[in-house]
Subunit: 368 residues, 3 copies
Amino acid sequence: MIETPALVDQYCHGVLRTELGLGTFEAQLSRTEGPPAAGTTLFDTQTGFAVRRWCPPLLGLEPHCPPARYLARRRELGVTEAGRRLLRGSGITAYLVDTGLPGDLTGATELGTAGDADAHEIVRLELLAEQVADTSGTVESFLANLAESVHGAAAHAVAFTSVAGVGHAPALAPEPPGPGEVRGAAGRWLAARRVGDELRDPVLLRHLLWIAVASGRPLQLHAGLAAPGTRIDRTDPVLLTDFVRATAGLGTDLVLLHGYPYHRQAAHLAGVFPHVYADCGAALVRTGARAATVLAEILELAPFGKVLFSSGARGLPELHVVGACLFRESLGRVLGTWVAEGAWSPEDAQRVAGMIASENAGRVYSLH
Amino acid sequence: MIETPALVDQYCHGVLRTELGLGTFEAQLSRTEGPPAAGTTLFDTQTGFAVRRWCPPLLGLEPHCPPARYLARRRELGVTEAGRRLLRGSGITAYLVDTGLPGDLTGATELGTAGDADAHEIVRLELLAEQVADTSGTVESFLANLAESVHGAAAHAVAFTSVAGVGHAPALAPEPPGPGEVRGAAGRWLAARRVGDELRDPVLLRHLLWIAVASGRPLQLHAGLAAPGTRIDRTDPVLLTDFVRATAGLGTDLVLLHGYPYHRQAAHLAGVFPHVYADCGAALVRTGARAATVLAEILELAPFGKVLFSSGARGLPELHVVGACLFRESLGRVLGTWVAEGAWSPEDAQRVAGMIASENAGRVYSLH
Amino acid sequence: MIETPALVDQYCHGVLRTELGLGTFEAQLSRTEGPPAAGTTLFDTQTGFAVRRWCPPLLGLEPHCPPARYLARRRELGVTEAGRRLLRGSGITAYLVDTGLPGDLTGATELGTAGDADAHEIVRLELLAEQVADTSGTVESFLANLAESVHGAAAHAVAFTSVAGVGHAPALAPEPPGPGEVRGAAGRWLAARRVGDELRDPVLLRHLLWIAVASGRPLQLHAGLAAPGTRIDRTDPVLLTDFVRATAGLGTDLVLLHGYPYHRQAAHLAGVFPHVYADCGAALVRTGARAATVLAEILELAPFGKVLFSSGARGLPELHVVGACLFRESLGRVLGTWVAEGAWSPEDAQRVAGMIASENAGRVYSLH
C-alpha cells in the first residue's frame, strides 16, 4: 500500500569483484573476531536467513534455497552478472558510497553503473589523513595538505565519514584542539607511523572532525554496532553529546550511522538537536526478521524529517538487496499498522515514507 | 473491554494562558536545543501525530486534520474554552501538578477547575530552595528557613519532586551530607548566586533530597528523557541505586518519573525495592503510536502495584489529552492481548488496569 | 506447529524440600531487597501471573486460580508429589543444576529423579573456593588445593559457573593475575575471612576464573538481572568484553546467563566471539507475558547456533515449569510468526527450534 519509488542508500560500500565460494561468501555475512564455532555457521543468523529469503528469486531460484545451491547459481551467472541482477532488483535509485575501505571493491561510479542508479562518493576522513601522511614530509606540510585535502574533497564528495570518532568519543574533548596540541600530536604520529598504520591519535581525530565540520558537508559518524576490536558500549552515540552540542549552529549536519543497540539514544539526539540525523538501515540488515521492530524503535523519538535509510552494505550486493527489501517491507508494515490502528492517517504515512526513503537524504546531501 | 473510569495523572504541569500561533504551539510539542531544522517540523513527530489524532475531535474537527486548521479552531474557541473542552475530554479525574516551572501556567486549582477534576500540588524542591535563598540573609537563616519550608510544604503538598537529582546522581554520595559540609556549600552558593540562578550545587541538592525524605511525603525523581543541556545516559535511574538503597525502610516512597529510554531499568528498581515506584506516562506522550510497546516494556519487571500513570504534560492541554488517551488505549491493547493469548485472566487484567490507572496513586499519595 | 521434544535446561537450581505457606511461596517468586510494599504482593508480577497460568492445571486446578487455592492444593498433595507432577509436566528432558546455593534444595540427581530426566552438576566456583579455604591451613595449601579442586570438579561437572565475575567486571583486568599477586590476595583474604564469608576479592576471582578456563569446561557467567545488593548496570555483559577477548581461542566456551535487560548486548557478544553463547531462559521467567518479545530480541544478533535455553529456576518447581512453558510457547510464536510472514522457511524454523531447545546445549556441554 505504501509506495517508495525512490530509495537513497545514504551509506554503503562497493561490492567484491572476485568470485566467492561458500566459505568466503559466509565470511562476508557478519563481522566477527574469529571463524564460526564448530557446529555453527554464519548462514544461521538473521542476515543469513534474510539473504536466502530475498536474493535467490532475483537469480531465478526459490526463496530459502540452500546456501550451496545459491552460490552455485551465483558462480554460474558470474560475479558481474549476478551483481547487476541483484543491485537492479534492490530498488535503490541512488548510492552514497564510502570508498575508504581496503579490498577489491567497486567504486561509486562502478556501483552506480552496475545498479543502474545514481552514485556519489563519501570520503572517509581517516583514510584521507593516512594518504596525506604518506606523501607529506614534515608536520607543517602534513597539516597544510590535510586541510587542503579535506577542502578539496568537499568540492566533489557528498559527505564525510569517520569511523574512529565514536570509539574514541569518551576521550574526545568537544572543542577543536589548539594549534600547538595538533602540531605536537602530528609530530609524534608521523614519527612513529609506518605506511598503512591506522590513525588512532585522539587529538588528530578531533582535529580532523573539526576541519570536516568547517567544510559544511554532512559528517557521518559511526555509532553502535562496531568494528571488531572495540567494546560496544563505547560506541553509544550519547557519548557524542558534547561534540554534538559544540557543533550546533555551525551549518553542518551530523548523521549518526547504525546506532543499534543504542538506536533509541541516536533517535533521541536527532530529536533534540536540529543538525543531527539518525540512520535506520544497517541495523535492519543485521536483525532480519526483527527489522520492523527495530525501525519502529527508531521512529519513537526521531522526528520523521530526521531519519535516513541506508543499507550499510559492504562486499556483497546481496547486502544492498537485503537492506533495501527489509527497509521497504518494514516501513510498509510499521506505518501500515499505525494506519490500520487509526494512529496515523494514510496520507501522513505515505508522506513520511517518502521522506525517510529518499526526500530527507535528498535535502541533507543536496542530491537534486 | 478494559475499563478505567478513574484516572489519576500523578505528574503534570499547568497549561499556558495565552493564545498560541502555529509556531508557538509547535515549540511546545518537544524539548529541543534549537528550532526545527530547515525542511522539518515538530508536528512530524509521534507527539505531533498523536495530538492531531486525539485532539481535533474534542474541538469538533476530524482526526488528523492539518495543524493550521486545528490552531485556527483553537483560537476561534479561545484558549480558555479550548482548554476546558480538552481537559474535560481527557478522562483524567485527578491532577497532581508540579507548579515549580516558570512561565504563565495555570496552577493546580485552576487546572482542576478547568478539567472538572481533583487537583493537588507537587512542590519542586529546587524552586523552594531558590525562593528561600531569595529571602534569607545568612547561611544559618537560609538553612533554618529551608528546613521549615520543606516541613511546611509537606503539610499541604501531595508530593515533592526534584529535577536535578538524577542529572547529578553520579556525583551523589548516597548518604546525607554532614552539617559542616552543608554550611560550607550553602555559604559558597549564597555568596555567588544572583536572583533567578538555578540550584546545581551537589551538596545542597543532596541535603534537599534528604530533608524531603525526612518529611515522609513521596519524592518524585526525574529520570530518563531529560531537560535540554544534559547527557541522557546521566539520567539512567540505575545511577540512583545507592541513594535508593540508603533511603529504604525510612517510610518515604520514591517515584521514578519518565524513565525512557531506561524504563526497563526503572521497572527493575521498582521490582527490587519496596519503596520505589515507576511512572508509565510521559514516555507514552513522546512515543505516540509506539506507546503500547513502551508500556508493555515497563510491565515486564515492575510489579503491577508499583506502576503509576502520568501525562507529564506541560503548557498544552493537548498533552494531557494525549497522555490520557494513549495510556488508556495502550493499557487496553496490552492487557487485552495478554487475555486473548490466555496469559492473563480477564479478572486480573481488569484489576491491574484499575491499579495502574488510579488505585496505586491513591494509595501512594493518600488521595482518599 | 513447531516441536521441541527434547528440552535441556542448561542452568537451574534444585527445589525446596519443605512445605510452603502463602508467604514463603510468594517470597520465592522474585528477588527483592525487602518485603513487598504495603498494599502490594509479588503474586501481582509477570512471574506470579505466569505461575498461576501454567501450574494449576498440572495439579488438577483451573488456570489463574487464586494463589491461596493453589497453595492449598499443593500442600494437599505434599511437596514431593507436587514437585514430581510439576517437574514431569515441564517437558524438560535434562537439567544442568548449579548446586552451589545455600538452603535445603534438592541436588542434581534428586531433581532428575523427581523430574524423570537426566541431570548434571554445575560447580559454582565461589563456593568451591570457600570450601577449600575452610579446610586449608596456609596460603600455599589453599592455592594448591584450589587448583586441584577445580581440576577434580572438571572431571565430573558439566560446567563451572561464577556469579561474582560480572559484578566485579569493571575492576577485572582481563589477563590472569600473576603468582605473587595471587599469593598476596589469598593471604589477605584467608587472614581476614570467617567461615561462611563470601569470596569477593577481585584478584582471587580473576584467578579462579582463569583456572576454570584452563580446565576446558564451559564457564557460565552471570550477567544482567543480578542478586540484590548490586547495581544492575554493573552486570552489563559488555563489561566482560576484554575478558572474553583474552579467553578467545583457548578452547573453553563462555556462556552468558540471563543478560536482561542487557540481552541485546549479550547476543552481540555471542555473534562476535566464536566461544561465547547467550542464554535465553531466566529472562523469560521474569517477563512472563512479554517473554516472546524478549526471546525475539535475543534472536536479533545472536547466531542461532549460539543460543541456549535455561529456566534459571531456584527453589520452586513452578519456576522450572514456567521457564519451560514460556520458552516453548514463545519460541513457537516467534518462529511461527516469521514463517507466516515468509521471512523464514518452515524447515529452518523447525531446525532452529531444535538447536535452541537442546542441540546447542548437547554440543556445548558434550551431553551425548
